[in-house]
């Protein structure tokens, strides 16, 4: 019998265990194994290999589970706190913008009068008026960036839970 046929039998045996093969292939394989003791032996070895693989068990340490749960709770609390703080910041930022938009005309005239009294050139006070709008965003940015080191601190804290 050609070597290719034995190789095909082995390939089909593995395929049949890994993902299934078509009915004609299965039929061919059965017939081949019946008439070819070496391939039948190889097929049994393949089955044994897979069986052995399936028999492996691993124990999960209960302490690992406790630590994991605790870390999850600590992180969830941290995320909630952070989320609430962020929401508060953005709400105040939005409120400032609404308030500024409502007073835009008044502000514009205010800037204009102040600039003329202090002898400030038009382009400068107009740029200042533009920057005024970015002020709430700037404050939010500063506050959020100040929160970053806190993340690392809390990581260190949870590292101690082991």
């Amino acid at each position: 019998m050609s070597e290719d046929l034995h190789r095909r039998a082995e390939q089909l045996k593995i395929d049949s265990m890994a993902g299934g093969i078509s009915a004609p292939d299965l039929q061919w394989l059965g017939a081949h194994l019946e008439g070819c003791p070496p391939c039948a032996q190889r097929a049994r070895a393949i089955e044994r290999a897979v069986r052995t693989l399936r028999s492996v068990t691993v124990r999960v340490d209960p302490a690992l589970l406790r630590t994991t749960r605790m870390k999850v709770y600590v992180r969830a609390e941290d995320l909630n706190r952070r989320g609430a703080r962020r929401l508060l910041l953005w709400t105040s930022c939005a409120t400032s913008w609404v308030w500024m938009a409502a007073c835009a005309l008044f502000l514009w005239h205010g800037f204009e009068r102040l600039a003329s009294q202090m002898g400030i050139p038009n382009w400068l006070w107009q740029a200042g008026f533009g920057l005024w709008w970015a002020l709430p965003l700037l404050i939010v940015g500063i506050v959020l960036s100040m929160q970053q080191p806190a993340v690392n601190n809390e990581r260190d804290l949870t590292a101690g839970l082991d």
Binding site: I14, A18, A49, R54, V56, V58, T68, R69, L79
Partner: protein, 193 residues
């Protein structure tokens, strides 16, 4: 929507709430499978334990990204795998990421285990993982070992494994084929010893 899809959708919704109780429930449900997979992936109990914790924290943080369309276990294992690959990348001195790909063959010297990475069985072997398999799996190339575990222990379909490992199905098949061939030979050798 059938009941399985309904369950996944419900899970996706509850993950969006970042409720730690939801994660706790999932830990109870998937602890064993995830840990077993990580043991095979890392070959090291300590690292597997670290990754186990990181994976669940990541599930909490990124839970809103689970859309419920795929199976949760595939998504979970993908997170664990990505964390592991990130670690490999950051530990360039120990193991290069190429060693996690298909570059090595079954004939390669140490059987394809990355340099300096102990076999899962060296480190988890205190009487718990086992049977005849001791010392055999570490002869397998990394990708084959992972494919075998996903197929025969986790019972993922070839399509799911391909998605998880981000490779074509044909590659998954060849990894499994190679893995079984080596495992079979190793078992035969050990029988004759």
């Amino acid at each position: 929507m059938n009941s399985v899809e309904g369950e996944r959708e419900a899970l996706a919704q509850s993950l969006r709430t970042r409720d730690p109780e939801v994660i706790e429930h999932l830990i109870d449900q998937y602890q064993y499978r995830l840990f077993r997979y990580l043991i095979y992936l890392t070959g090291n109990r300590e690292e597997a334990e670290d990754l186990f914790q990181e994976t669940w924290i990541r599930v909490l943080e990124r839970g809103h990204r689970y859309d419920g369309r795929s199976k949760f276990d595939t998504w979970l294992f993908t997170i664990a795998r990505n964390l592991f690959i990130d670690r490999l990348r950051s530990k360039k001195t120990q193991v290069s990421i190429e060693e996690f790909s298909d570059s090595e063959g079954p004939e390669s010297g140490n059987g394809g285990s990355p340099r300096n990475v102990p076999s899962p069985f060296d480190l988890v072997s205190q009487g718990e993982v086992y049977g005849q398999l001791s010392g055999l799996m570490d002869r397998l190339p990394f990708p084959s070992r992972e494919a075998l575990v996903l197929r025969f222990q986790e019972e993922f379909s070839l399509e799911e494994i391909a998605r998880l490992m981000a490779v074509p199905i044909s590659t998954v098949k060849s990894r499994i084929y190679r893995g079984i061939a080596i495992l079979k030979e190793s078992l035969e050798d050990s029988k004759h010893e």
